[in-house]
């Protein structure tokens, strides 16, 4: 895998340089038109300045901007244990040194993306619609694909190449608009006499600049998209290898493509980050050259064609079978891997998710509510109660059986884990009645994940990163002190 990253870097460098040349040329000629006779250098400086400035912004806040724009919310293990576990599994499989942050986007369109210019500060985000539609194996495939983007450094590429592309588009647009504007407005004030001296040269420069302003964005876009598509294939191949189960991702892609929902929080700039194009509905036919993602049906066919193993070589073989003579997607170093890796069997989970059916809709709603920090109670009579975080009363009488149900202070538990004892004291006051909850002590055995039962029977967990002095059970409110 490490060889692949190096090969990727080389290719990206070539691409960056060609895109950079486009930018410099464009800057030179546009500058020469705006500030004749020798504004070319100034143009280059301005063009590079635009690029540098935009890069700077995204380097320091890129992740948070993307996550904020897509309205993603960071979640803990408790909100969706399965998602969290799968991310950890893939982190281990990919040998990533740090655990990525996990985000859920409260939207129905199934999709996922990864961010993280630096791999130490990466994140994976999935939509609630994805979680409610996919089973464990499918979700694992999607997470593995996103994890591949992180280890293959694709986010870095997408961000910086995207910014280069953005700068080129910006400069061309400004230039073309100003040309159009000036040619209309100046006609009335100018004589039709030719400008004396150097007029010929200036005309040529203007023509070249216009041609560049039209062509450069198209050219860079094509370069950018072709590489971004290649990276999608590579991420699919890596995902198959990481999970050792290509069918998981294939079936996930199938599920995702069967839904025709746009993701309103995505836009053209963020689109390449997603596992499938979030704006896929328009221009599917045109998509071959100008699409950031390869056609889903083809990706599925390639994954399903991996019959004998999950090596990079197996993927390339299947790819060649599906795509015919298309150039190879896997760098040669990836093909040298000799060890055969077998496909594993599917996991035992029998439950199939039924999107659009009652259960699927319920799941979707519950995930969105969990993200929004609702507490979930199940009364002994079977009635489920979902309590919003701003609900103020400590108890709910079940309208079905009359039992009294205590409202767990869910948000409080999360806060306490981070802050420590002070919040508990405040929380106890908020709780009102002094019915003292159970107290127990747990002594930590090591530094890894540890789990134990609360006195009410609920499974409690502490993560390797846990630093608090105690945790509060979200079922019974009992406090367990954690000792080192």
């Amino acid at each position: 895998m490490w060889e692949l990253i190096r090969a990727n870097k080389r290719k990206s460098l070539i691409l960056f340089i060609s895109m950079g040349i486009c930018l410099v040329l464009l800057g030179y000629f546009v500058g020469a038109v705006f500030f004749p006779p020798d504004g070319g250098t100034a143009g280059i400086v301005i063009a590079l300045g635009v690029w540098f400035f935009m890069s700077l912004i995204s380097y320091f806040s890129g992740d948070s901007i993307l996550l904020a724009v897509s309205k993603a919310q960071e979640v803990s293990h408790d909100v969706h244990p399965q998602l969290f576990n799968i991310v950890e599994e893939m982190k281990i499989a990919a040998n990533l040194p740090v655990m990525p942050k996990v985000y859920i986007v409260a939207e129905e369109a199934p999709n996922a993306f990864a961010t993280g210019i630096k791999s130490e500060k990466c994140a994976i985000a999935v939509t609630a619609g994805l979680l409610s539609r996919l089973n464990r194996d499918e979700l694992q495939g999607v997470i593995a694909h996103e994890m591949s983007h992180i280890v293959n450094r694709d986010v870095l590429f997408v961000t910086f190449a995207g910014i280069l592309l953005g700068s080129i588009v910006l400069i061309s647009q400004v230039f073309l608009r100003s040309m159009w504007f000036s040619s209309r407005s100046s006609r009335r004030y100018r004589t039709s006499k030719k400008v004396a001296g150097g007029g010929q040269a200036q005309l040529i420069i203007t023509a070249v600049a216009i041609a560049l302003a039209i062509l450069a964005p198209i050219l860079t876009r094509l370069l950018y998209f072709s590489l971004s598509r290649k990276r999608e294939y590579l991420a699919d191949a890596t995902a198959a290898r990481l999970t050792r189960y290509p069918e998981g991702l294939a079936s996930a892609l199938e599920q995702i493509s069967s839904v025709s929902l746009d993701l309103p929080s995505a836009n053209k700039v963020t689109a390449p980050m997603y596992i499938v194009n979030p704006l896929k509905k328009k221009g599917m036919q045109l998509s071959n050259l100008t699409s950031t993602h390869p056609p889903i049906s083809e990706r599925i066919k390639i994954l399903r064609g991996m019959m004998h193993g999950v090596n990079y070589r197996d993927y390339q073989k299947s790819f060649s079978k599906v795509r015919g003579k298309a150039p190879a997607v896997i760098p040669t170093s990836g093909l040298l891997e000799a060890k055969r890796i077998l496909i594993r069997k599917p996991s035992v989970e029998k439950r199939e998710r039924e999107p659009g059916k009652k259960k699927g809709i319920r799941d979707l709603g519950d995930i969105m509510r969990a993200v929004n920090k609702y507490a979930f109670l199940i009364c002994a009579c079977g009635l489920k109660m979902k309590v919003p975080p701003d609900y103020k009363k400590p108890k709910i009488f079940c309208p079905r059986c009359g039992r009294e149900n205590e409202v767990p202070l869910a948000e409080l538990a999360a806060v306490t884990a981070a802050v420590g004892a002070v919040t508990v004291e405040e929380g106890k006051k908020k709780e009102g009645p002094p019915g003292a909850p159970a107290r127990q002590t747990y002594v930590r055995k090591g530094k890894g994940w540890e789990s134990f039962s609360c006195s009410c029977g609920r499974l409690l967990q502490i993560s390797p990163a846990f630093g608090g002095s105690h945790i509060i059970c979200s079922t019974c409110g009992g406090i367990t002190e954690i000792k080192k």
Partner: protein
């Protein structure tokens, strides 16, 4: 004089190259150690989870006492295993007991409706996966490290500083950890 400088230069280059090889070997060995600790963490976590799981399942699975006892027994044997040589078979026996348990569970709808049990089951399934992935990545690292130790020219450095070949960690590969498919319908 010129020869002396040349000789000095050669010595400096050789030392720099040696240091380079030495450092990369150290880095690889650390990665192997790191990968091993990952497996260790997950094995421990599995040992912690089992008592809770058995406790919850007991009430529902009256007819599966044997399955449950097998797990408990396999767990204590795995915990008490001393050497790495004993550990491998003991842990793989535990994996077998767990996967049989996870298949049997599918036939107890009441148990599958218990939220507490579902949470534990997800944790156990995930821990099993993590052990598998950690093992896979450990073996990848070991392969890489062993190749470096045995191949020229890094084998010279490895010999000088007594880097030794690491062992692979093999939980018996029952068809790549295949879970036996049981169909009761």
């Amino acid at each position: 004089m010129a020869i002396l400088i040349l000789l000095l230069a050669v010595v400096v280059i050789v030392v720099v190259v040696l240091i380079g090889f030495y450092n990369s070997l150290i880095r690889l060995r650390n990665q192997v150690k790191n990968a091993w600790s990952q497996i260790d963490v997950q094995l421990k976590r599995r040992h912690d989870l089992i008592p809770n799981l058995v406790e919850t399942a007991k009430g529902y699975m009256k007819h599966e006492r044997e399955t449950l006892e097998n797990i408990t027994e396999a767990r204590s044997r795995a915990i008490n295993a001393g050497s790495v040589g004993e550990k491998g078979p003991a842990e793989s026996a535990l994996s077998g007991a767990i996967s049989r348990f996870l298949v049997v569970v599918e036939n107890y709808p009441d148990l599958k409706a218990n939220q507490n049990f579902l949470a534990l089951q997800e944790e156990l399934t995930s821990t099993e996966n993590k052990i598998g992935f950690a093992r896979q990545s450990y073996n990848d690292q070991v392969l890489f490290y062993n190749n470096k130790i045995q191949m020229f020219p890094s084998n010279v450095v490895a010999g000088m500083f007594s880097f030794t070949v690491e062992e692979f960690f093999e939980l018996e590969d029952r068809g790549e950890r295949a879970v036996p498919k049981v169909d009761f319908s």
